[in-house]
């Protein structure tokens, strides 16, 4: 295993982008770093810039206004990166799929590696999704 991969697996840094969500997925994601779940124990850290991130976690349908920004954030994230779609909205458009302002779901815009369904998924589900994503890396 290369040093880069090893570092990647040991402490994945996450950038969260709400692309038109109802907040619930975002809150549950944030919940993961607070004391009850506390994923920082495992080196998972929420960072403030996509340039520092290993994982992009995207919640919500992609609205038309967010679309160009999402593409840009994807480009700004250095390789290797994994993209995780959290919530029914991000996976399939969920309840908002018929809306006129929808440009997503996420996988129509950028490649997605892991889908975490649920509306919203529980923090446990989110953590398990991220862990699975890391396990899939060679």
């Amino acid at each position: 295993m290369k040093l880069k991969d090893w570092a990647f697996k040991k402490s994945p840094w996450i950038f969260h982008l709400g692309a038109g969500s109802c907040n619930n997925c975002d809150i549950e994601l944030l919940d993961c770093i607070t004391p009850k779940f506390d994923v920082e124990r495992f080196g998972i850290l929420l960072v403030g810039s996509p340039r520092h991130a290993d994982c992009l976690v995207i919640t919500g349908i992609v609205t038309k206004k967010v679309l160009p920004r999402l593409k840009r954030v994807y480009k700004q994230t250095p390789d290797p990166k994994i993209v995780i779609a959290v919530g029914a909205c991000a996976c399939s458009g969920g309840i908002f799929r018929d809306g006129y302002n929808m440009a997503g779901p996420v996988d129509r815009v950028i490649p997605v590696d892991v889908y975490i369904p649920g509306c919203p998924p529980k923090p446990e589900a989110i953590i398990s999704g991220i862990v699975k994503a890391l396990g899939d890396m060679k």
Partner: protein, 400 residues
Amino acid sequence: MAEKKRTIIPIGPYHPLQEEPEFFLLGVEGEKVVDIEWKTGYNHRGIERIAETKSYDQVTFLVERVCGICSTSHPIAYCNAMEDLAGIEIPERAKYIRSIIAELERIHSHLLWVGLAGHFLGYNTVWMWSWKYREPVLDIMEAISGNRQNYAMLKIGGVRRDIEESDIPKILKMVEKLVPNLDLLTGAITDDPVLHVRLKGVGILTKEEARNYGATGPTARASGLPFDARRDSPYAAYDLVDWKVITRQEGDVFAKVVVRLLEMYESVKIIKECLMRLRKVKTEIAIKVEEIPPGEGIGHPEAPRGEVFHYIRSDGTNRPVRHKIRAPSFCNVPTFRATVIGETISDATIILAAVDPCYCCTERMAVVDKRTGKKEMNGFDLIRLSQEKTKDLRRKMLGK
């Protein structure tokens, strides 16, 4: 002349800690904020339009997803509007259950806010604490509704799930356990001398301004306007139980904190009383609604952030012809013009956060007008500035 010196600071649209993307442009001269502009629309999902394509029963679940934090306030507003339209009175038991859910949501929302406000001030311990104490609230929600968020408890004509008699003692105990945690948090915040200096007299919204801007919820109540839709136009069980409207006169950030903290105690009181009443009131939990007549209806309950407003027009079919939603932040956010202008940049973050908008930061993707901007800062720098100010104060005051 002044134009030349002005720097534009964009905040938004993305911030890792916050929920929705939103975008602020602060115009500053030196340290002082002289202008603020608000841009939004990143999160526009066209819900009102989608609602017109769904049947009345489906809309309940759609409006739940307007905002995740207020995922009971919107359905209550919608159901109230529908019940107003159809002239329905819901069973008493349903009223109590609705109140219980709504108040649990208020506690969870206020705790969430206290945590984020703490973070903006550089008190990450407060953040972690209040989010830790928020977890039991979500556990209670899970016990009642089966989900931590998006409870799906409401339906037109009542509620979808009952609270079983056998569960009540367990839930009561969980609710009672919240109180010492709230005490701890309230004590820690109100006793801290640094926080007093940091928050008192900052970002004052006068009574007059609050009225002119049409502020609602804790933002209005902290400025001495005793408006609370729960008391002024009772719905659910709020006229059946005993509780107080919390107000403060000062209108500064501290007052807003205090109002929210004290409101949580009232919520606990309401929940406890409703649970007690549930033991005696053995009615149905919902009535069957056969048909929705043509007409109009409004519902305007008090969400954690203020009054939510839903308007429905029906033409007698099974879907709304028009569904209008107005959320409280829509009224509260413009008050920034009164509160932020004239304050320093390092206070801007907490003042913006004080009305608990669905608030968001950091620049990165913002387009900055280079003609006017010399220095660029993003939301992180702003939060850092805010945190440093607290640190400075602490050093000076406590010698730490």
